[in-house]
């Protein structure tokens, strides 16, 4: 069995020799921060040394991001202080922090969509040259790319880039400004294993040159793979701070959630049913008008999960959109239960029993300013009993929302509460519940657990597995290879807009999948 769901290969590949200097670069003492209803940081101490990669490990809501927002000047602590290179500092804004060499790459990107990568990197920067032709910016950007080993197309506009590429722009932007302390807020949540390893190398390289890198994560293997030291937070407090070399995955997990964690995914053995989704020779363009899907063939049967593995930007997002009627199709056919749905509207896909958990839960999945009930009925508001002629029955809406919330264990204080008040995990539970309710035949789930903590991830996964066990077809698109391996009955690898390999769950070859994700198959064919 070559399957490696523990991610050991990842650990071994970039495990560094540990030799952090003992020069303190950042010292945070007795940090307290309270938000309405939440004590986010309680008496937190943190030291960062020059030349170390420091992992900050904790579940969602543990206070990692809040602490780093304090360090990077976005928040002010209620009490406590920060010293940088021995000097006490009080940042009133991120600009003051960056001036002191503290740079943060946010989990949710802060980029201007319509500007190019080069323009974003130079945005609001006093040191930018006075003459800023696209050519000059591009050249300077290329220089930074080479210096830090992060490649982006300087002239591409942000909206045209994949999330992985956008992240590289964010990191370059911070580094270009001379950050000595680089904070990465859950940087791998949008990356594939290959991209993540590359990021680890970049982080190690920066540390080797004397910078401090803070790596916020809730993934244990990443802590082991990249960090010299690790600080574990739970419920706003420091649980432990120690050398990574003395930690194991098991010991970290115990600190992280306070107990040993056992996965309770239950996969029912069942004979494959009849085909639900049949896609043949599918072609579609991406947002830049370039071919993104170049002849996709796939089929999924009842009670089967087909997992799509692949590096970001190889056509996965476009595939999901095409299968839900959201993206125009150039060529090819999409059939659900034998009915041709090519060129049909999103409504017709929904009416055929196709649900969709989209990649971007805030931009596409949920209206955060509207209530839980309003979000729950998004797929149902045109159907009885919620729809009564032109009217919308408020009582039926609440009844339906209550059902979704109970089925998916969404924690809400009221169904009329705006969705933005919910935590990320609860938002995803609500979205998952709503879409599985629609998906009486096929559910397309894109990065369904991205950014969620272990508990929420497990719940969403078991919800999806239950849906499969009930005889529905699932198309799971995820950049988390472990997730694809754990969940899928069959695995397809996507590269360059094509399916380049398919595996049964039983005979998975992790190395081979990794190679295919990197485009190795094409080289073999060419040679």
């Amino acid at each position: 069995m070559e399957a490696d769901p523990q991610g050991e290969s990842l650990v071994n590949s970039v495990r560094p020799a540990l030799n952090p200097s003992k020069v303190l670069s950042v010292e945070m003492r007795h940090i307290w921060k309270r938000f309405p209803g939440v004590l986010a940081n309680q008496d937190i101490d943190l030291e960062l040394y020059r030349g170390e990669v420091h992992a900050l490990l904790g579940e969602n809501g543990a206070g990692k991001s809040t602490l780093m927002h304090i360090l990077s000047g976005s928040y002010q602590p209620d009490s406590g202080y920060v010293r940088i290179d021995g000097e006490k500092v009080h940042f009133r804004s991120p600009a003051q922090a960056i001036a002191k060499g503290i740079g943060i790459v946010h989990q949710h990107f802060r980029l201007v969509d319509v500007l190019s990568a080069a323009e974003n990197i130079h945005l609001g920067w006093g040191d930018a040259p006075w003459r800023v032709t696209p050519q000059i910016l591009a050249e300077r950007t290329e220089k930074y790319c080479a210096e830090f080993g992060l490649h982006v197309d300087p002239k591409a506009e942000i909206w045209q880039l994949s999330t992985g590429e956008q992240q590289r722009v964010e990191i370059l932007r911070v580094l270009a400004r001379g950050a000595q302390v680089l904070i990465l807020d859950e940087p791998t949540s949008v990356l594939t294993p290959g991209e993540a390893e590359e990021l680890f190398r970049v982080a190690r390289g920066l540390a080797a040159k004397g910078r401090s890198v803070v790596f916020i994560t809730h993934k244990l293997e990443e802590v082991l793979a990249v960090s010299d030291r690790v600080t574990v937070l739970r419920n706003g407090r420091v649980v432990s701070s120690c050398m990574t070399s003395g930690c194991t995955k098991r010991s970290l997990a115990a600190m992280l959630i306070g107990q040993e964690f056992v996965s309770r995914l239950h996969r029912e053995q069942r004979a494959p049913g009849k085909p639900v989704l049949e896609v043949s020779d599918l072609h579609a363009l991406n947002n830049r008008g370039l071919p993104a899907l170049k002849g996709i063939h796939l089929s999924i049967r009842e009670g089967e999960i087909l997992g799509i593995a692949g590096v970001a930007g190889n056509g996965q997002s476009e595939l999901a959109e095409a299968i839900n009627g959201l993206r125009p199709i150039q060529q090819g056919t999409i059939r659900v239960d034998g009915v041709d749905l090519t060129h049909k509207s999103p409504h017709q896909f929904v009416d055929s029993g196709v649900g969709h958990i989209p990649e971007d839960r805030h931009g596409m999945g949920l209206v955060t300013s509207l209530s839980v009930a309003d979000n729950a009925i998004l797929r149902q508001y045109k159907h009885a009993p919620i729809a009564k002629g032109m009217r919308l029955d408020g009582k039926e809406s609440l009844k339906f929302a209550k059902k979704i919330v109970e089925q998916s264990a969404v924690k809400v204080s009221s169904l009329r509460e705006p969705v933005r008040h919910l935590s990320g995990g609860n938002q995803q539970r609500l979205l998952t519940g709503r879409e599985t309710e629609v998906a009486s035949r096929l559910l397309v789930a894109v990065h369904p657990t991205q950014g969620l903590d272990i508990g929420a991830t497990e719940e969403v996964r078991s919800h999806l597995m239950k849906h499969r066990n009930q005889g529905n077809a699932l198309l799971l698109i995820s950049e988390d290879l472990d997730e694809v391996l754990i969940m899928s009955d069959r695995i397809a690898v996507m590269y360059g807009g094509k399916i380049v390999g398919e595996f049964e769950a039983g005979d998975v070859n992790r190395t081979r999948i990794g190679l295919l994700m990197g485009g190795a198959n094409e080289l073999e064919e060419a040679g």
Binding site: S79, H90, G103, H108, V174, M364, S369, H421, S423
Partner: protein, 396 residues
């Protein structure tokens, strides 16, 4: 490494709050307006006026009697209608700055019907009602189509059409439609069909139209599928497209409806208050509708209250003018009150507290009144606003 001397001192802290209770919302607004009046009073006092006597006079004459209240209701009618027109657009994050022009065109259409068609008065008023709505809607048709299909900014197109509208009205009021029988140089004849008065009062039945419209809008938005779709689009266009809601069609319909509401304001104004169409029919009602909608902060019923408040304020200004205050002083007073009301509106979203802080001795008292950047996953409490771009986000 030197360690600065530590001591405890107090810091004024301003923070975003997620929900403010209703009583606080009311209290903050009352307090804001009281502060504004105090400020105005001090300035008047130093200018040798008697602020308290003036204030009493203004309040008694505007809100203290039947006449004052009726005048406020009459003036509030067009303000609420244009306020609703702006409010409806805001639901989809569209800005109709052209309510003034649509008001003129609504009045123009209603006047045209009244002057050149004959029929039983009740029927004629109904026809004029719809003519007014259609006139307003047609005036926003081009900006609406440009916005829906080519994404042309509606703020600019609707605004520019205001100037065209006034010129068009003047062209007819001074030209072909001018009342040649009277010594009036720039208005049409008195309309032969007018909205009937309520009993012996100064008010006509026109004052009920804004209230009915506000209730109607509230119900449509919250109790129909169409209203639901509009709210989804207003919340997130991406989600609306995801759900297959026809966004372009809704932009078109909502803008046309917005124009129709402003057009109705014109129809009521010309057939109940001004009685003749002229190029001075609108006293900037369209622009004041923007203020009304902004003060109301989203709810149609709030628009009714804000419209009435503004009307009372404007009438108080007229009273003060008769007491020797200059027009500019009166406008300045109105402005101060409105600014304080707007500040009060924002202030309800923040919590101010005095806290003990342990910091080094050299630190002065600090006020950090910044918008805290929202982190989507932690903490679980909301500190995000509807405002989409915040300066900090562009400055890493």
């Amino acid at each position: 490494m030197t360690i600065a001397q530590e001591r405890v001192h107090r810091t004024l802290r301003i923070r975003r709050r997620s929900d403010a209770p209703f009583w606080l919302n009311v209290l903050v607004r009352v307090f804001a307006i009281a502060l504004a009046l105090l400020l105005v009073g001090i300035v008047l006092n130093f200018s040798g006026m008697e602020p308290i006597a003036l204030g009493r006079k203004a309040i008694v004459q505007t809100l203290g009697g039947a006449y004052g209240l009726q005048q406020a209701a009459i003036l509030a009618t067009p303000l609420i209608m244009t306020g609703l027109a702006v409010n409806v657009g805001m639901r989809m994050r569209l800005w109709n700055i052209g309510a003034d022009g649509q008001l003129y065109l609504g009045a123009f259409a209603a006047t045209g019907v009244a002057l050149f068609v004959k029929g039983p008065p009740a029927l004629m008023l109904v026809v004029m009602f719809f003519a007014g709505a259609i006139g307003g809607a047609l005036w926003i048709l081009v900006p609406a189509v440009l916005r829906a299909f080519w994404n042309v900014n509606e703020i600019i197109t609707t605004l520019l059409l205001n100037f065209v509208a006034v010129l068009l009205i003047n062209h007819f009021a001074i030209g072909a439609w001018r009342d040649t029988g009277a010594a009036i140089l720039s208005a049409t004849p008195k309309l032969p069909y007018l909205l009937p008065s309520i009993g012996k009062s100064y008010m006509t039945y026109g004052i009920f139209i804004p209230i009915i419209m506000a209730i109607l809008i509230q119900m449509v938005l919250h109790n129909t599928q169409w209203g639901y779709e509009v709210r989804v689009i207003g919340g997130s266009r991406g989600v609306a497209e995801f759900a297959g809601i026809p966004v372009l069609r809704h932009i078109l319909i909502v803008l046309l409806f917005s124009g129709a509401l402003a057009g109705l304001a014109g129809m009521i104004e010309v057939s109940a208050t001004a009685l003749r169409l002229s190029g001075t029919l609108s006293n900037n009602y369209g622009y004041m509708g923007i203020i009304v909608a902004a003060l109301a902060n989203g709810s149609p019923l709030g628009v009714v209250l804000a419209g009435f408040l503004l009307a009372a304020l404007l009438n108080a200004g007229i009273v003060l003018q008769t007491s020797g205050l200059s027009v500019s002083a009166m406008l300045a007073i109105n402005g101060v009150i409105l600014i304080f009301a707007a500040i009060g509106e924002v202030a309800t979203q923040y919590k101010i507290s005095l806290e003990k802080i342990q910091e080094s001795a050299d630190d002065a008292v600090q006020i950090d009144a910044h918008h805290e950047i929202e982190n989507e996953t932690e903490p679980a409490v909301e500190i995000e606003t509807e405002v989409q771009s915040r300066p900090e986000e562009l400055q890493p």
